[in-house]
């Protein structure tokens, strides 16, 4: 465990150095992340401008959902998404060989090597907007509520991580699918909306997207004090199950990795 912490500290340091070496990239990334996180809010404002309720969720509830989406996904985008984005290239050009021979978990190395600190802007904007919305809705935040909230966010990020891991592992069989991560960025937007919108949709669609619908809705319900114990338990069970299954799937897929020269 100590070895992993030491390696991760090195990653954190290296990524900070990289951030300041390419300053134009830093500036551009901040602009891009500001635009997209603002878009999440603007999108919900526009969608709710002509309708007051959607599946029983009020406009304010939906705006809290949009703010929470920014918060939850900012953690994932900051610490993991860039690593997943490199999966296809790493596998396609055979760089995975170098990862596999290192005395450390290949999954850990593949998913944690890149840290995009600039996604912090998404977190800041999300928190700012959430606090504003909660003050409008007269929701009082206590220390206990905050601790519980952090706990739920942790499991939400675990679900996103495992979901991406399961899908991106497919690049072992289809290494040319470099746009698979782009598709996942789009699919993430499923989490921006209430779970109820998927009711009545195809069973297959529901089964595929169900874990994503828990990610943002559960912390929102918890903050608005509408969550039941079963909601949180479901999130935790799903998170643990998916982490286990995605790790198993990665290990299984590696047996089919043939390297670039094969």
């Amino acid at each position: 465990m100590n070895q992993y912490i030491r390696v991760y500290k090195t990653f954190l340091r290296l990524n900070i150095l990289k951030l300041f070496v390419y300053r134009a990239d830093l500036f551009s990334s901040i602009i891009a992340h500001t635009i997209w996180s603002s878009f999440t809010i603007i999108q919900m404002l526009l969608l709710t401008s002509k309708t007051s309720y959607v599946f029983g969720w009020s406009r304010n509830d939906l705006l809290v959902l949009a703010a929470m989406y920014n918060i939850v996904y900012s953690f994932f985008y900051m610490f993991f998404s860039r690593g997943f984005g490199e999966f296809s290239t790493t596998i396609h050009v055979g760089r995975l060989d170098g990862v596999l021979i290192k005395p450390i978990s290949s999954q850990f190395l593949m998913t944690t090597l890149y840290i995009t600190y600039t996604h912090g802007i998404r977190l800041i904007l999300g928190i700012g907007f959430l606090v504003y919305m909660l003050s409008i809705m007269h929701v009082h935040i206590t220390l206990l509520l905050m601790v519980g909230f952090m706990f739920i966010i942790f499991f939400s990020v675990m679900i996103i991580y495992s979901y991406w891991m399961l899908i991106m592992t497919l690049t072992i069989w289809f290494p040319k699918l470099s746009n698979l991560s782009e598709l996942l960025y789009q699919v993430n937007s499923v989490a921006k909306f209430p779970q109820e919108i998927y009711k009545g949709a195809s069973v297959y669609l529901l089964l595929t997207l169900f874990p994503l619908t828990l990610i943002v809705v559960t912390p929102v319900k918890y903050l608005l004090q509408k969550a039941f114990f079963s909601d949180i338990l479901l999130l935790v069970i799903f998170a643990c199950g998916m982490v286990f299954f995605s790790h198993f799937f990665w290990k299984f897929a590696l047996r089919f990795y043939t390297s670039a020269s094969a």
Binding site: A24, S28, I35, W36
Partner: protein, 260 residues
């Protein structure tokens, strides 16, 4: 003849990437499908019926796949910033024509996927689709569709050329993507926007890229309105082409050939 050969070669090259094309198509379909599900739960939808909204988004998926070009990153990053443009400048072909031939192949394949899907849905659920039955409107709608493709092509080329002056173009590209999503009608039919934003969409080129082609095929425009849309598209295309010529003329002087 030589351009036909290039076109066929591009076709072969793009067909090799069939799986990627399918993923790109899914990418275009995800957002409208989610929004479609979202509107099912809306308590009041600004005078539109649920069937009309469904029809709008399904048409939007097919038309978006067939018209929306994505070559700005190739132009701005791969060619201008990384120096790939040098290879094209040395060839006895126009750069923009090569880009056009490459992009037309992608749009043909993705558009075909989109229209096949749409056709299947029309056959299965004929009642939810609004579709023009007048041949003349249908014909003009096809012209609007082709113009929409050419308009997005020239617009995205202009956006890509910003790479001559900007060392990092990602922020600009992201900003353009957001503008397109909001003002072209991907997010929702433009009549759902607040009135001041609706007025704004009329003076921007984005509505001509998706919204008007969709409602033209749905038969929501009269012949006269279709003509006005075509005229608007032509004016924007001409303006953007002039702008492209200016940017290319001055931009090529900035190009260093070894990456910016």
């Amino acid at each position: 003849m030589r351009y036909l050969r290039i076109f066929l070669l591009q076709f072969q090259e793009v067909l090799e990437d069939r799986s990627r094309i399918t993923v790109w198509f899914l990418l275009a379909a995800v957002t409208p499908l989610i929004l479609l599900l979202f509107w099912r739960g809306a308590s009041h939808i600004n005078g539109w019926t649920s069937a009309e909204i469904t029809s709008y988004y399904l048409f939007a998926i097919a038309i978006f796949a067939g018209t929306m070009c994505h070559h700005e990153e190739k132009v701005g990053i791969t060619d201008i910033q990384a120096g790939g443009l040098t290879m094209y400048l040395l060839k006895p072909f126009s750069y923009i024509k090569l880009l056009f031939l490459n992009e037309i192949v992608y749009r043909m394949l993705q558009g075909t996927l989109g229209f096949v899907l749409l056709g299947c849905l029309v056959l299965i659920f004929p009642n939810i689709f609004a579709f023009t039955h007048a041949f003349d409107i249908f014909f003009v709608s096809c012209l609007i569709f082709i113009s929409a493709f050419m308009l997005t092509f020239i617009f995205k080329t202009v956006v890509g050329l910003l790479g001559f002056w900007m060392t990092e173009t990602r922020g600009a590209f992201e900003a353009v993507s957001v503008l397109i999503v909001i003002f072209s009608g991907v997010l929702m039919p433009l009549v759902f926007l607040p009135s001041w934003m609706q007025s704004l969409t009329m003076v921007l080129p984005f509505s001509y890229m998706l919204y008007f082609p969709v409602i033209a095929f749905e038969g929501k425009l009269t012949m006269l309105q279709c003509g006005q849309v075509l005229l608007g598209q032509l004016i924007w295309m001409a303006a953007l082409y002039v702008f492209y010529r200016i940017l290319w003329k001055y931009g090529i002087e900035q190009y260093t050939g070894v990456g910016q």
